[in-house]
Symmetry: C2
Subunit: 152 residues, 2 copies
DNA sequence: TACAATTAATTTGTGCACAATATAAATAGA
DNA sequence: TCTATTTATATTGTGCACAAATTAATTGTA
């Protein structure tokens, strides 16, 4: 193999060396880990993330929720309608600004905060790393995510 | 706030503290970063990952590809049909075992290996971290992914 | 050789995820 | 005030992602 071929080889993508693929595949792994646990409550993983967001701050608009989750309204609107159909959230137009839709948890939606508590405990047990290590990895991944969104 | 309330609070999920959410949102960020770059070649990010896999080992079955990408055939079959329609891969039943479908790159599919080389270069520039740091993060994420798949 | 069990791929149905577009309300400027 | 622009949601269309069920081929076993 000559020098040029070696140079070319070095730049070519290899699935085993791609950081993006590790993130992509780990995302699927988490989804599959959450799925059966959340299915007991009739929830999907993205729906659970919406509820987690609302549990810490209720009464937000779709846009604010989207900023927290890095999702836009075309993803959230149908998802929120499903949560509304399930009786977990209400969607009401803001009287002060009729463009906005305010999201509020119902009593049942609030109650899931406590009822689903064992889920997050189970997740951290399976992942099996200590809080500090997890925090370090999380910060590193967030830095990458934020770098991408800054440039793009 | 009494001790019980503090204990309860500690266990409740917070989107800002969840490692899984950083992975989930970083995955979307990568997808959005790749999208316009790959659109020039008529590819989606998952389609690109399939091609990357085949570039390093051509002639695999759907099952083998799925094991490499952590995807099952119900995801891959329609994706591979689209790549076939685009003239990038061929799908042929294995004569030795008619249950299997062998995947092979066409000349055009092979050619994309070189033509898309600038894409991965662009990605690493935007992510903007050195190879060693990226490697460390990748290994940590893979360990989490593998821990999940081992238990689930 | 029969025929049950396993395996590989496909099909079906549901739910994200997102670009592009549409709609309607609020705001800004002339 | 009138109209152009901006903003917040919703809609449409395409493509993953996966569980569950289906089909067809192979293997195991009596």
């Amino acid at each position: 193999m000559n020098a040029n071929a070696a140079d070319t080889e070095r730049d070519l993508p290899d699935i085993g060396k791609m950081l993006c693929f590790s993130i992509y595949s780990a995302g699927h792994a988490f989804n599959q880990l959450y799925r059966p646990l959340l299915a007991d409550f009739g929830l999907t993983y993205p729906q659970y993330l919406v509820l987690v967001s609302l549990w810490s701050r209720d009464g937000r608009t779709v846009k604010e929720l989207g900023e927290a989750l890095f999702l836009d309204s075309s993803t959230l609107t149908p998802l929120l309608k499903r949560l509304e159909s399930a009786g977990l959230v209400t969607r009401t137009r803001n009287r002060q600004d009729e463009r906005q839709v305010l999201l509020n948890l119902t009593a049942e939606g609030q109650a899931l905060k406590v009822r689903t508590a064992p889920v997050s405990k189970c997740i951290s047990e399976v992942v099996g790393i200590d809080a500090e290590t997890a925090q370090k990895i999380k910060v590193a991944i967030e830095a990458i995510r934020d770098a991408i969104y800054k440039r793009a």
